[in-house]
């Protein structure tokens, strides 16, 4: 019906505003606000129990917020006329009937959503599940289940994709596939919001991150910016047979120098070219000189430290 013709307000932006969910004993999400831009992959990060799943479920009208709003392209999910044509969601690995075949699982959804049933086979092909189309869901491996979930999300060719830990259970090849798949979707201008615990993967995948802990927003922004804002800057690793000499020279240049167990020097306060110059001036032989940037994992751990995970 509304295929291809989307209203101008439907830009696919996700806006979460003052979102709160109070369960009996725990405030799972606490006055959370952030936005997710179209055309980018946004990583949604937080320790176990931070409230990621609860937030995504409120965004999708599965859980009723205690307070606040969440909109997709300016609309509440419940107000979308053809939700699957706007938003695709992958929420948990095991969400199909064990005794139903993969293709039938998708056909059931097509029927309810008013999509042509041919979409079922197309979506299966998209995620590489065609060979297992007529096998029952209970015989699927974890990664196959995950792919079926993605196929279901893609049935309506949606503008916005929301995925809760989609990499769960995928093998390295599968994770690589997923990375390419999601990046490509974002490249086509779609909004991709994906929660994950695999921070090294997120560093490769995400353009933006939203980090929450204890139900509250900790930081939101482009990955590079979030990483750049860290107190610890880049570190220089140096291996040399004349460690003492170089240490003395660097300390003279107001750098701080640590030594790790292997005898590698870890230099803070100056950059790699400065270290190289100092070594040359002191006539020190270098075997390795590299810059160690803080990775997303380090940043994440620093940002969420002390903001208790499990509640």
């Amino acid at each position: 019906m509304s295929d291809g013709q989307r209203s101008p307000t439907d830009d696919g932006q996700i806006v979460v505003s003052g979102l709160t969910k109070q369960y009996r004993n725990v405030r799972a999400v606490d006055d959370l606000s952030f936005t997710v831009a179209p055309g980018r992959v946004t990583g949604f990060l937080g320790p176990n129990g931070a409230g990621k799943t609860t937030t995504l479920r409120m965004l999708l009208n599965l859980v009723t917020p205690t307070a606040g709003t969440a909109t997709i392209g300016g609309h509440r999910y419940a107000d979308l006329t053809d939700p699957l044509r706007h938003v695709g969601a992958v929420l948990e690995a095991s969400s199909a009937h064990k005794g139903r075949t993969g293709i039938n699982h998708l056909k059931v959804i097509c029927a309810a959503a008013g999509l042509p049933k041919e979409r079922a086979a197309e979506a299966l092909a998209l995620v590489g599940l065609t060979p297992a189309a007529k096998r029952k869901f209970k015989g699927y491996s974890l990664g196959m289940k995950q792919r079926l979930g993605i196929a279901a999300a893609m049935l309506g060719d949606p503008r916005v994709l929301i995925l809760d830990e989609p990499a769960n259970g995928l093998d390295p090849e599968g994770i690589r596939w997923m990375r390419g798949f999601l990046k490509n979707l974002a490249h086509e201008g779609r909004t991709v919001l994906v929660s994950s615990h695999l921070l090294s993967e997120m560093q490769l995948l995400a353009d933006d991150v939203v980090i929450i802990a204890g139900g509250k927003l900790i930081r939101q922004g482009p990955v590079q910016e979030v990483m750049g804002s860290m107190t610890k800057g880049a570190r220089v690793r140096v291996r040399t047979p004349q460690a003492d000499q170089l240490t003395a020279a660097l300390r003279g240049a107001s750098a701080t120098v640590d030594v790790d167990e292997q005898g590698t020097l870890l230099v803070d306060g100056v950059d790699a070219p400065a270290v190289g110059r100092a070594a040359l001036a002191a006539g020190v032989e270098l075997h390795e000189l590299s810059t160690e940037r803080p990775d997303l994992e380090g940043v994440f751990l620093e940002l969420t430290a002390g903001k208790a995970g499990i509640r």
Binding site: R57, R100, A112, A113, G114
Partner: protein
């Protein structure tokens, strides 16, 4: 309509319908056998000294219309249980297999989903009745022939058959309501069966004990027990002595089905799916 189609596909694409049919088939055969014995005894058997106060009842049951109605609604007792279970499973399997998330993502209007489930379950109940009735018309005619009674197809008989269909429809709806109230697949199934079997047998004993003590008006209370209300609803003659009228059974059952459907829908609308 799309939604109902989807709900029907959900059932067709799993093995539940033929499992229920396989369980039902021998039960249907057994009730047919007992109905044959009973009809034969009523018509040809020597019932010996019938106590004066029950003579009316026997006469009413011996009426050819009543015999035909009974045979053409054969299997009702277990058939209703099967469609109730089907109704239960239509709802609880969504929670059991966690497909409810996908279902409500696809259609956020939960009342519409529930309505589709009610319609699909009711429709399947009717299909169940159609198949059973077709089998009953054949086997019933054979039984009547065997005991030497002319097969009768009077208005009263068709009325009983029609009301039997209504009972199948209503019990499917009752099952859906029960499934929403008790989301656990096993919990709802066990509760449903216990209520259906234990409830009706227990109620019969209780009510007849009470009636013996406090007078016949207590018999009217059997209306409040859904399974008794439905068997009353289809009993072929309007005037089985000492029983409440047929239509009252129908009214009570419709009432239960409405309450189950509405309460179930309201509950689902607000519930957090997590």
């Amino acid at each position: 309509m799309n939604l109902v189609r989807s709900e029907l596909l959900k059932i067709r694409s799993t093995s539940i319908w033929w499992i229920l049919a396989l369980i039902y088939l021998p039960l249907w055969g057994i009730t047919l056998f007992f109905n044959y014995i009973q009809s034969d005894a009523l018509v040809n058997g020597d019932l010996g000294e019938v106590p004066a106060d029950q003579a009316d009842t026997f006469d009413a049951l011996k009426d050819p219309d009543a015999l035909a109605a009974n045979l053409f609604t054969n299997g009702q007792f277990f058939g209703l249980m099967m469609v109730m279970l089907l109704g239960i499973i239509v709802v609880t399997s969504e929670f059991f297999h966690q497909t409810v998330t996908t279902t409500f993502l696809t259609v956020p209007h939960r009342s519409a989903v529930m309505l589709a489930k009610l319609v699909a379950a009711a429709g399947l109940g009717v299909v169940f009745w159609l198949v059973t009735t077709a089998a009953n018309l054949l086997s019933g005619a054979a039984v009547l022939g065997a005991i030497g009674v002319d097969a009768r197809y009077t208005g009263a008989v068709w009325e009983a058959v029609g009301l039997n269909g209504l009972a199948y429809l209503l019990w499917a709806i009752l099952g859906v309501g029960l499934g929403v109230l008790i989301r656990s697949q096993i919990g709802a199934t066990v509760t449903g069966i216990l209520l259906y079997l234990g409830g009706s047998i227990g109620a019969v004993i209780l009510i007849s004990t009470l009636a013996g003590r406090f007078g016949d008006w207590i018999n009217n209370l059997q209306l409040l027990v859904p399974s008794l209300a439905s068997s009353l609803m289809v009993s072929g003659t309007d005037d089985l002595p000492g029983n409440p009228p047929q239509w009252a059974g129908a009214a009570v059952l419709i009432g239960y089905a409405l309450v189950a459907g509405v309460v179930g829908t309201l509950l689902v609308r607000k519930r957090d799916i997590s």
